[in-house]
């Protein structure tokens, strides 16, 4: 159980204690989305007295629980195909966009630039030292040490790993052929350690010199980690900032006709490692309208609230589409 889960349990305990006079909705799933839903549900409760309890149990269980009807909505970082949604009587829409950064710990190297060749080389275990050519080529001024690269990854199954390997699969053919996009990967790099949760990875990077790993932007920022500037599809080097994530989000192919089914990583412009997180709602659940009310409030009134916790708010146009989608599905 990670820290977030414990906090969530505590929160749950607190909310159960208070009288249930207003609507109360239960959700579970993606831990990636948890900070956003937490921020939203807090203001929602303050302003409307309606409770939203969201527990970060992981995308897999979010999908399972919502299908089983144990919760009013599920959170998943992995979109379900429209066919699967129809089969289980669910609707799906994105709620926020997040980014995954390459956080590293090399003393004296501030603005590490990683080309696609360098990233694939490190991930495939072919580039072993910090001063190997593909890395030094883009970092002429920096004094990169002849030290072995320590790769840090997630030890638990996670949507973050899925989104990250999805990006790698889009970017690199060899990766795509050998590994593909998965929630847990047998990483080829020999010199590696793993951390539990984004928080565990961030801590491992912080306390081990010459390490690099993939961490969601929120945790990297919170831990004050250095984040690499990486090459995108246009061969431009992009710094991970909310602005560059937004530039990428514009290209998200989020289409209501396909129930917004899309993996948005590796867009043509902007920061390339971005991912959307989705909400799954039963079409005829007894609280489904309340769930939609909550997300409408969140997306239309409090969308900016999630920026400080490391997300990119969905673009206006997408929110309009989502609202249309709700009306069409008869939930608004």
């Amino acid at each position: 159980m990670n820290m977030k889960k414990i906090l969530a349990l505590g929160l749950l305990g607190l909310t159960i204690g208070t009288a249930a006079h207003a609507a109360k909705i239960e959700g579970t799933g993606s831990s990636f989305a948890y900070p956003a839903y937490k921020a939203w549900s807090k203001v929602y409760y303050d302003e409307t007295d309606n409770q939203v309890n969201y527990t970060p149990t992981g995308s897999g269980s979010g999908i399972k629980e919502v299908i089983a009807g144990h919760v009013d909505f599920g959170g998943s970082d992995k979109p379900l195909k429209p066919k699967a949604l129809r089969k289980h009587g669910l609707i799906m829409f994105p709620t926020a966009i997040g980014a995954i950064t390459f956080a590293y710990n090399v003393e004296g190297v501030d603005n590490l630039r990683l080309s696609e060749a360098a990233i694939s080389g490190i991930m495939l275990g072919k580039i072993k030292y910090w001063d190997d050519e593909p890395i030094t080529r883009e970092n002429a001024g920096a004094s990169l040490p002849h030290k072995e690269i320590l790769f840090v990854h997630r030890s638990d199954k996670s949507g973050t790993t899925f989104a990250f390997t999805y990006y790698l699969s889009k970017m690199n053919k060899e990766w795509r052929k050998k590994f593909g996009a998965k929630k847990v990967v047998e990483w080829p790099s020999k010199n590696r350690i793993a951390g539990k949760g984004n928080f565990g990875v961030a801590t491992a990077i912080k306390s081990n010199a010459y390490s690099i790993g993939y961490v969601d932007y929120a945790d990297a920022k919170k831990n004050g980690l250095d984040m690499a500037i990486i090459e995108n599809r246009e061969k431009a080097f992009i710094k991970p900032t909310p602005g560059s994530f937004e530039a990428a989000a514009v290209f998200a192919d989020l289409d209501p006709k396909k129930d917004f089914y899309a993996n948005i990583a590796y867009p043509p412009k902007g920061y390339p490692v971005v991912t959307a997180t989705f909400a799954l709602v039963p079409k005829d659940g007894k609280n489904s309208k309340e769930v939609i009310k909550f997300f409408e409030y969140a997306l239309t009134k409090k969308n900016q609230l999630i920026e400080p916790v490391g997300y990119v708010p969905l673009p206006e146009a997408v929110i309009k589409k989502i609202q249309g989608y709700w009306v069409e599905k008869g939930l608004k």
């Binding site: 159980m1 414990i6 149990t57 992981g58 995308s59 897999g60 269980s61 999908i63 399972k64 299908i67 992995k78 379900l80 195909k81 066919k83 699967a84 089969k87 289980h88 320590l150 997630r154 030890s155 638990d156 199954k157 996670s158 999805y166 699969s169 889009k170 053919k173 795509r176 052929k177 593909g180 996009a181 998965k182 929630k183 847990v184 990967v185 047998e186 590696r192 350690i193 793993a194 951390g195 539990k196 565990g200 801590t203 491992a204 306390s207 081990n208 599809r233 993996n263 590796y266 043509p268």
Partner: protein, 327 residues
């Protein structure tokens, strides 16, 4: 009244067996698909969650075609055929059947990681715990023994996640400074486990030593035995079964400890070359994968849990048989 009491005690005791049997049955049933799939080879397979393509020559060129599409947009729009759909709901059921590859799971790395981390913990904790127990019951004055006893009981009540955090933030980097290697490794996990079980072992051993009759000790002293001789030849042999019992209990706890180890063992499916390498243990694999698993990958976890269950059971049976019965 007597009868009711007797019956209640009987029920309590038999409840234990019911729980044990129920656990075994549930574990076995849930693990069955994985047992059928992998059999006993599961125990000797070192790969975990690795896809093995059965028909390499046919599959690869196919993918190549898709990937090599000249048009970059085509590449973006294509069906995401490289996504690993182990989650049962992602697609309709027929699609996954056509897949020519299967995912290999093997328990060897976590089994060995579990055994080694527990052994390190025992090597580290037994001498220290014995020292504490002997000091408290034989050497320390009452005024000193009391606060130390309270401290031990306090340590025993610290939740394991606290030990995990402590290991991750402070103890791990400290060990890495001394022994080299990374801040998370088999060694760190073993030592954190050792620290965790010391209070248990010390408190139980102290109680066991406390049962040694004063008369025996006094007679030995009267014969001219030194303190060391009394402890070695009178106290330990007398309290032997209690002390071994405390070690077995602690061993069991170390074997199944999850949260603390999850943060410090490294979580990597890799054999250790040296003790400062990261690896994995069974409870950690369970904790890390459970929430996100379904279908066969979930069944594999139950299989792994069954393996741990049998391991603990065997250790306890063997230990009891050899260490306690032979007199």
């Amino acid at each position: 009244m007597e009868l009711i009491f007797k019956k209640l005690a009987q029920i309590s005791a038999s409840l234990l067996f019911v729980i044990l049997a129920a656990t075994t049955i549930v574990l076995y049933l849930s693990a069955k698909p994985a047992i059928q799939e992998f059999g006993a080879g599961f125990l000797f397979e070192s790969r975990w969650g690795v896809e093995e393509t059965k028909n390499v020559s046919e599959v690869v060129p196919n993918q190549e075609l898709v990937v090599d599409g000249e048009d970059a947009d085509d590449f973006m729009e294509d069906e995401d055929d490289f996504i690993d759909d182990e989650d049962f709901v992602t697609d309709d059921d027929t699609e996954s059947e056509t897949n020519d590859s299967e995912i290999i799971y093997g328990a060897l790395v976590p089994i060995i990681g579990t055994i080694f981390s527990t052994l390190i913990a025992m090597l580290f904790s037994i001498p220290i715990a014995m020292g504490i127990a002997v000091f408290l019951s034989e050497i320390a004055s009452a005024t000193l023994a009391k606060p130390i006893s309270i401290a031990i009981e306090l340590l025993a009540s610290i939740p394991s996640i606290i030990y995990g955090m402590w290991g991750l933030f402070y103890f791990g980097p400290f060990i890495a400074d001394i022994f080299g290697g990374n801040t998370v490794s088999l060694l760190v996990a073993g030592l954190v486990l050792g620290v965790m079980v010391i209070p248990f072992m010390a408190a139980l051993s102290r109680d066991a030593i406390g049962t040694v009759p004063d008369m025996l000790k006094e007679s030995a002293y009267a014969m001219g035995a030194t303190k060391l001789e009394v402890i070695k030849d009178v106290v330990f042999p007398y309290a032997k079964s209690g002390i071994i019992g405390s070690i077995i209990l602690s061993f069991g706890r170390a074997l199944g400890e999850t949260m603390a180890v999850a943060f410090v063992i490294g979580g990597v499916y890799q054999f250790v070359g040296k003790v400062t390498d990261p690896t994995n243990s069974i409870p950690v694999v369970l904790a890390n994968s459970f929430a996100e698993s379904s279908g066969l990958s979930l069944s594999v976890l139950f299989y792994l849990a069954l393996v741990l269950f049998v391991m603990s059971f065997m250790v306890i049976v063997v230990a009891k048989h050899y260490l306690l019965r032979r007199k």
